[in-house]
Symmetry: C3
Subunit: 466 residues, 3 copies
């Protein structure tokens, strides 16, 4: 399934430049500075239950495509909120997937799954109805073996550091367990405070109460609330955190006078914030988080612009994260101004911007990151974490922001087995881009060699302090 | 004029893959599921009057470019509303076109016209002042011959099915004539209810009256109005219709309570709708149409985002469709939510989305079509029905929506002789895209062969039930 | 540093087509119809002070990138408003730049600077800490020589005409001095009335007073104000002006009744315009300028969409034009309608549109310029004046607007030594684009040869009447 020259430029000389650049970076360790793997995997180190539960049921890229062609979510094992029937037979789920596997032609899921099947499990055919059972048996058999346990895979994947993402309300017991286990793998947490920062987050009021308890302060007044953040951030740092992360609907920021922010917080605690006020409060909290970052050094990541849970019926039946999160137009120029006026010129702060709106790459993000010292551009994200998406990212950001205002690759995934595949795609696409620059006289080959290593390894370590 | 390898990738190996994919689809029959040819051509089967009236005067792509460089619309025979002078001498019009033919370099019009001149009429030079008269005479002579009559061309073009577009107020007499003629060509209609759905459509109130008469119900009350739609849709189905089509300024949809919709309808009948109310009513009617589609199986096409008749002076002098329709930014994520919440998860419904705003391909349309079972993406449309436009369509939709949430090609034209050329361009561009995927290890060549046939023939038949 | 085939297509046959097209245009004279060089250079013809003041301190592309990676603006000699310390030692500034020169990899600045170093100064290495001093000495030595004086460079650059940009309040003394000097170089001015057209421009009220004085009329009433414009435009024409230029935040236009415009003007003179009123006034003045263009023949250029001085702290410390101008989303379809309804169909008027929002190329600008006789598209501008940006410009405008609704290249620069480099990049990118069209059967090679010369020379002379 895997062409050794995949994703490289087509023309011979340029392809051979790309090949040679890739040889220099293919074996560099993986730094995964932002993602959603489950720390309990590494804490417990238990085997993955079956191929369907490893590859299909938890992967919203996979089941959204099946859904788009009429497969019911229940039939591929997505759990219902009401506890109603959903398929639990891994083999049956796998057969449905295999029957529809042709749908994934030319999608990144096909490339990631194909890579994992072949490279991780030694299964070298793409799926169809005919080979479905054999593939299932083959992978299921592998999963029984010790070399397919989470920690073994982590090591085999050559991961140097892997970040998970947790709420401030999480006690980090799995990270504690990993730490105490003596295992050498470096699995760190990241601070994602949406549940205690967004007044319209489900359970916000109770969350704040719990937040105070877990931090050991009264978080129901503004000062205490900020203090609770400081305390939990420090706690997260104890478990390796080097970053916070923020997933708002827009990139709006505010820098309100403290009394105004405090007043909004009190309204939020009474559940009385309007949509506009909740938005302003979230926006203000980004600036507060940036100020805390100046104190404690956490990198601030902003992931805006996803209209989550677009389908009411699906949300009501299946809940969050069911593939119905749709990108929307996102403004950065006006939205970020309050934050940037407050801290944008700081040299000791790193704010990493992501987008789902590619129109902002050349128009807004590259010009912003190409001048503000505090800003960096995160890699192509989510629907754009794909060969064409990554190519467009480089083509539309490099001329204005250069390479050195970007931060290498993020896999941002909960699909553990896809991590090597995703990093491999990023390395190949970057090498293809660099080879094209060399072949068109825009960059020396020696420089390209250095840049390839920077994009793969050095920039991510530096940006995330990992 | 016609390079046999036109639009194929440049590099030799990839070009030869494209060539071989194209060989597999070049002779497949043409399915034209959406367009604006005139059914009377096929009913009457009379000869086309002259080269200018075939190629210049009715083609807004052609006269808009001439206009942009200072040619007056009157001088190329575009009729004035006030009946004032306009050129009627075909040869004079043709000479003006030939003199300016260099303006079309690298435009799709040049490719379509060149293809039609050469392939249909055997005229192998692009036009200029020197050869204008000879070309005119050559084509005029052809038009005298029986093999250039509309039905003969239809057959020679290897058309398997061709849809026209009619208003519910149309009596479909030309379609009836075609049906009764015994001719084997399959020319079907499509249901385009804008004149009775848009409260601000010219003559809306009289249209509704006529709508009731023609349907044989009282269409001035809400229930009767809906019933009239059902009756006319059934009537259109009798003449082969498999789809409805809707050309609103935005993609706004609504799903109002029936009483609210009925009240808006009454306001519309009194001519009292505000711009906002008219918009809401149009949006609501999309949802009603979708519900009817669930009953009667018509495919629902949405063509939003054209700011029509942009120039007041031109609109006042020449009326509609004079090349002054300009695309605008179009939102789909919020606009379609009411419709999708109502019927988006239906497996037996097909809604085909088009856009003139390419920024929505990767950001909105592919993510939506890549998850909602009722949605499909229409091909690159209008200004984007061009080699670069089609390439961008595939590059920006495939990774998220795959191939199988798209529906093949629409020519959407009233320029009959351009139909083979347009389908040929689409086939070539798709084969070029697929060849590139093969050459970069993203798709097997056997798979690409299958996908090429799917994109050319199978998907369009399936999506439009033709 | 300079690959002779840089920016050409990679594949051999296509590259050789590009090479041959480029051979036909590489030595054509430079027409620079819009830019910001300083006319005093050519009037005084004094030597440039040192390499840093030639290349670093005045170039916001350069110091913005340095700033983005933590270099302080003071350290590269950017003057502070408060007169506080800023580096004045050219060599120290140069060393900072050299140390960070790797940041510019794959940016247009790298290409422009590299070209100037090599072609103008004969220095053939890209900079680094090691060679910084040698490069500085080499260039400094050149600057002592008569062949590096401004007029000598102008001649050596093969410039046929060069436009600067001045305010109506400028007395054009440097242009007068050039004229009176007997030097044969053609350095003309352009009319940029923002300071007397934008009610929120700093010093607007005093500007209007001065405007009246310099024009010799009372400019504080509406009729006198318009008359002052006519007088100053005529004066600018005496110094070679063939164009006016307008740099508003949006592309908004208005065509207000004269009494309304007059009333707004009176409010502006009292400093009482709201943001909305100021915007309306600016918009209306574009239409007034267009009407004057119909009388006096000046070409009207619109450069909208830059959110200037995005950082308050930087603006307060360093003032205007410090690299903190960030593009924003820009609408043209609705914004230009009042202007186009008023004068869009005029055949004797030329309005040249620029954009910083690439999403408008295919969606709005090409469709507009492809039909309105008064409109033309300016070339890729500012952040998009780069190989990828220029390629996207051609790919997204040509199919709808053709080549002949574009106007050739503008360098729009104040970096004098970069002018040949910028024009060379544009010629190469256009030839690469044309070669690709030839190689894919979309254009004949003879036609491409003609188009290459049109894009390089003929269109710009014609559009700007130079």
């Amino acid at each position: 399934m895997l062409d050794p020259d995949r994703l490289f430029p087509i023309e011979d000389k340029t392809r051979s430049i790309a090949r040679s650049l890739y040889e220099g970076v293919r074996s560099l360790p993986i730094i995964s500075p932002h993602g959603h793997t489950d720390p309990s995997w590494f804490a417990k180190n238990e085997r993955f239950p079956n191929p369907a539960q490893l590859f299909i049921t938890p992967d919203h890229y996979v089941f959204r495509m099946l859904c788009s062609q009429g497969v019911k979510l229940e039939d591929v094992g997505v759990p219902r909120i009401d506890g109603g029937w959903t398929e639990t037979n891994g083999r049956k789920i796998w057969r449905i997937f295999a029957k529809h596997a042709y749908l994934f032609r030319a999608t990144p899921s096909r490339m990631w799954l194909g890579h994992a099947f072949e490279d991780v499990f030694g299964w070298t055919e793409w799926l169809n109805e005919e080979n479905a059972d054999r593939a299932y048996d083959h992978i299921a058999e592998c999963l029984e073996k010790p070399e397919f346990l989470p920690r073994a895979l982590y090591e085999r994947f050559n991961i140097e550091a892997l970040a998970t993402t947790e709420s401030p309300l999480d006690d980090l017991k799995w990270h504690r367990a990993i730490k105490e286990s003596g295992w050498k793998g470096r699995v760190v947490t990241a601070y994602r405070p949406d549940p205690v920062v967004d007044p319209h987050y489900k359970g916000f009021i109770e969350n704040i109460e719990k937040f105070g308890e877990i931090a050991g302060v009264d978080a129901t007044n503004w000062e205490g609330y900020l203090e609770a953040h400081r305390i939990r951030r420090a706690y997260f740092k104890d478990f390796g955190a080097t970053s916070s992360d923020h997933g708002h609907l827009t990139a709006r920021t505010e820098n309100l006078p403290q009394e105004e922010a405090a007043a909004l917080f009190q309204k939020a605690l009474k559940g009385e914030c309007s949509a506009e006020e909740a938005d302003a409060f979230r926006g203000h909290m980004l600036t507060e988080m940036a100020r805390m970052s100046l104190e404690d050094g956490l990198v601030l990541q902003i992931h805006p612009g996803s209209n989550r849970n677009h389908s009411n019926p699906v949300f009501e039946t299946f809940g969050l994260d069911k593939g119905f999160d749709i990108p929307t137009r996102t403004d950065y120029v006006h939205a970020l101004k309050p934050l940037l006026d407050a801290v944008g010129m700081e040299r000791d702060l790193k704010i990493i911007l992501f987008t789902l709106d590619e129109t902002s790459y050349a128009r807004e993000l590259a010009p912003l990151a190409g001048v503000y010292p505090a800003l960096r551009l995160g890699p192509a994200w989510w629907f754009h974490d794909s060969p064409e998406g990554m190519r467009r990212f480089r083509e539309m950001t490099t001329e204005t922001a250069g390479f050195y205002n970007t931060v290498g690759f993020n896999d941002d995934t909960r699909a553990f087995c896809s991590i090597p595949a995703r990093h491999d795609v990023a390395r190949r696409v970057d090498c293809a881009f660099l080879a094209t620059l060399v072949a068109t006289g825009r960059l020396g080959e020696d420089e390209a060699t250095e840049v390839a290593a920077d994009l793969t390894y050095r920039l991510v370590k530096q940006a995330y302090q990992l």
